[in-house]
């Protein structure tokens, strides 16, 4: 399992307006494209200087394809990254704070200690 790669996906999508829309509309296609093209990009290097070893597990791919923020939390993805991106994708479909409250309520079965987010 790679919490780092989950975080890298959330981070790189969240900061790019086009990718936010693409992930909202086509999660499976975006995750497949991102893993093939972006997962091994070193963010402050030229494109040729690629990492050779980063990939998702099946469970991680499934969680990302399913927009499954609860499973991402349980996997130890950074909660700030997940929340920020998911608000960007889905707040627009709801009334004021409705999405944020529902997002928390979907995790009400979770208790301390929360999953470790250290990478």
């Amino acid at each position: 399992m790679s919490k780092y790669l989950l975080d890298k996906f959330l981070y790189t999508v969240d900061r790019d307006p086009d990718l936010v829309e693409r992930y909202r509309e086509d999660p499976a296609g975006t995750v497949a494209w991102w893993e093939a093209e972006m997962a091994n990009t070193i963010l402050n290097c030229t494109p040729a200087e690629r990492t050779t070893w980063l990939s998702f597990t099946d469970a991680e791919r499934t969680a990302l394809r399913g927009h499954d923020h609860v499973t991402l939390f349980e996997m130890g993805a950074h909660p700030f990254l997940t929340l920020t991106l998911f608000i960007a994708m889905f707040e627009r479909d709801h009334g004021p704070l409705e999405y944020q409250k529902a997002y928390g309520k979907a995790m009400e079965h979770l208790s301390l200690p929360y999953p470790d987010i250290a990478t």
Binding site: Y11, H78, P79, T84, A88, Q100, G104, Y114, D116
Partner: protein, 316 residues
């Protein structure tokens, strides 16, 4: 030597800008009271007449990322652009550009290394809402040069709470040993109890009002020892999963000093999180006799940097 004009610790609520500028049906019912509290808080900086702002905050995965993550970082650049696309998107924060104070930044970096704080640096730093929020609340004209200092409260492993306090004490000494006649305000922002992306987020109050009550008391009374006795990296998970941002308040307690009561204390119970605002005047309340001695103690600014260093011993 430079003089500390004010020490200020605050929460950095990214919704303040939108709440305070919205009108009509969009204006939340708590906005007017919030604005009134912020305007009183702003006056505590204005009356200190600072020339330079040292601003402590924490990057929220904007420029600093897990492939290259510093624990403590100083921005040294002639300018700092502020706010990011996702902060514009979620909070409606405006873009801004602030001037940098490179002489002070260089001094802090050199002096920090010499005080055993191996501070990272950035010569091209885009600051985020942890630093732009206090500009919006405390100095909206954004006319003063800054030295941004970022701490890692976000991406574990994190430094220990005592290390934040020690860095605060060191920053105080670094600023006071800067050979300049400038008046420096040291401003830092953090959180009280806070949950982000977990089951306790966006409640009627902050996730742990009892923690918030104790935290405000620790800060207002300068009770560093009491705070350190109860707060650990492990304990901070309990009040809310983003409560490690409280360590930036602990850093500011270090700047203000053990036992130093804040001259201005205010808080505001909001949904999701409690706001809290503190100002100390180490050299006396402006307008009530600059440089006067409070509580019978010697003004720290009048003492030499070497005395300060010898007193702080190996604690850093």
């Amino acid at each position: 030597m430079a003089e500390i004009a004010a020490v200020i610790a605050s929460t950095h609520h990214p919704f303040y800008y939108r709440a305070s500028t919205s009108t009509g049906a969009d204006r939340p019912p708590f906005a007017d009271e919030w604005v009134a509290k912020i305007e009183r808080f702003r006056e505590t900086l204005t009356r200190a007449e600072p020339d330079v702002l040292v601003m402590v905050g924490s990057d929220h995965f904007h420029q600093l990322w897990l492939d290259n993550m510093p624990q403590f970082l100083v921005g040294k650049a002639p300018f700092f652009d502020g706010n990011w696309y996702n902060e514009e998107r979620e909070f409606g924060l405006p873009r801004m550009t602030l001037r940098g104070q490179e002489d002070l930044a260089a001094h802090i970096l050199r002096d920090g290394l010499d005080r055993d704080f191996d501070l990272a640096f950035s010569n091209e730093l885009r600051i985020d809402h942890s630093i732009t929020c206090p500009i919006i609340t405390l100095r909206p004209q954004a006319d003063l040069p800054i030295v941004p200092i970022y701490t890692n409260i976000f991406a574990p492993p994190l430094p220990q709470p005592r290390r934040f306090v020690a860095l605060g004490r060191a920053i105080r000494q670094m600023v006071e040993s800067w050979e300049s006649d400038q008046r420096v305000a040291i401003i830092g922002t953090g959180h009280l109890s806070l949950e982000l992306g977990g089951p306790r987020q966006f409640g009627e109050h902050g996730p742990d009002p009892e923690f918030d009550r104790k935290a405000v008391e620790w800060i207002a009374s300068g009770d560093i020892d009491g705070c350190l006795a109860e707060v650990s990296l492990e304990s901070l998970h309990a009040p809310g999963n983003a409560t490690h941002g409280f360590m930036d308040f602990m850093l500011m307690m270090g700047v203000a000093g053990e036992g130093q009561k804040a001259d201005h204390v205010d808080s505001f119970d909001l949904f999701h999180t409690m706001e809290a605002y503190f100002t100390w005047y180490p050299n006396g309340v402006p307008g009530e006799g600059a440089g006067r001695e409070r509580d019978g103690r010697v003004s720290i600014a009048a003492r030499s940097a070497s005395e300060e260093r010898s007193e702080s011993g190996g604690e850093q």
